[in-house]
Amino acid sequence: SQQGEEDPQALSIQEGENATMNCSYKTSINNLQWYRQNSGRGLVHLILIRSNEREKHSGRLRVTLDTSKKSSSLLITASRAADTASYFCAPLIYNQGGKLIFGQGTELSVKP
């Protein structure tokens, strides 16, 4: 199965710093999505980047995609304590019917 693998597994930073999380995958994809999960809750969709895009922005989020290296990164700028959560990437292949396979995620802790 196509799975996203996040790195690092855990990241601890101070409020105001930037947080960078990385994702690698193995096969060709149609798009890649990033999700956030607060402790004990469901997943919330953050951003989607298509295979023909290299960079995308949404507020304080910046996502890059390098299909030649089969990798993506999520940058959160000027982090806040409320950004504390787990972050998951999920590569998507349309002919698998929208099936997303998630990695273990990056646990981000932003200290005030």
């Binding site: 199965s1 999505q33 999700y35 004990g40 809750r41 469901g42 997943l43 919330v44 969709h45 989607l48 998951f88 999920a90 019917g97 929208g98 099936k99 997303l100 396979i101 998630f102 990695g103 273990q104 995620g105």
Partner: protein, 111 residues
């Protein structure tokens, strides 16, 4: 506002009980999914469905079955609950228009 609703946030069941976890979506999506999430293992796909009465095994289907009698409802069934099925269960639906939407999860404890 599009929504995926899981009927219970918390559930406690006894070993050997038959357990039904319900999931309803209001987006007219064909595709629906059940995941479980465990510490250190991330999210793992149990079953998914592309249409009414259709189902496909995910990566860890053992001990589970599903039912999709109506498009908006996808039920996960634990035929005989065991303690190793204690977990957080997440339902999701997917469509080209809305993308992926997750429910808020059901935390199941089997005692």
């Amino acid at each position: 506002d599009v929504k995926v609703t899981q009927s219970s946030r918390y559930l406690v069941k006894r070993t050997g009980e038959k357990v039904f976890l319900e999931c309803v979506q209001d987006m007219d999506h064909e595709n629906m999914f059940w995941y479980r999430q465990d510490p250190g293992l991330g999210l793992r796909l149990i079953y998914f469905s592309y249409d009414v009465k259709m189902k496909e095994k995910g990566d860890i289907p053992e001990g589970y079955s599903v039912s999709r009698e109506k498009k908006e409802r996808f039920s996960l069934i634990l035929e005989s609950a065991s303690t190793n099925q204690t977990s957080m269960y997440l339902c999701a639906s997917w469509g080209h228009l809305h993308g992926y939407t997750f429910g808020s999860g059901t935390r199941l404890t089997v005692v």
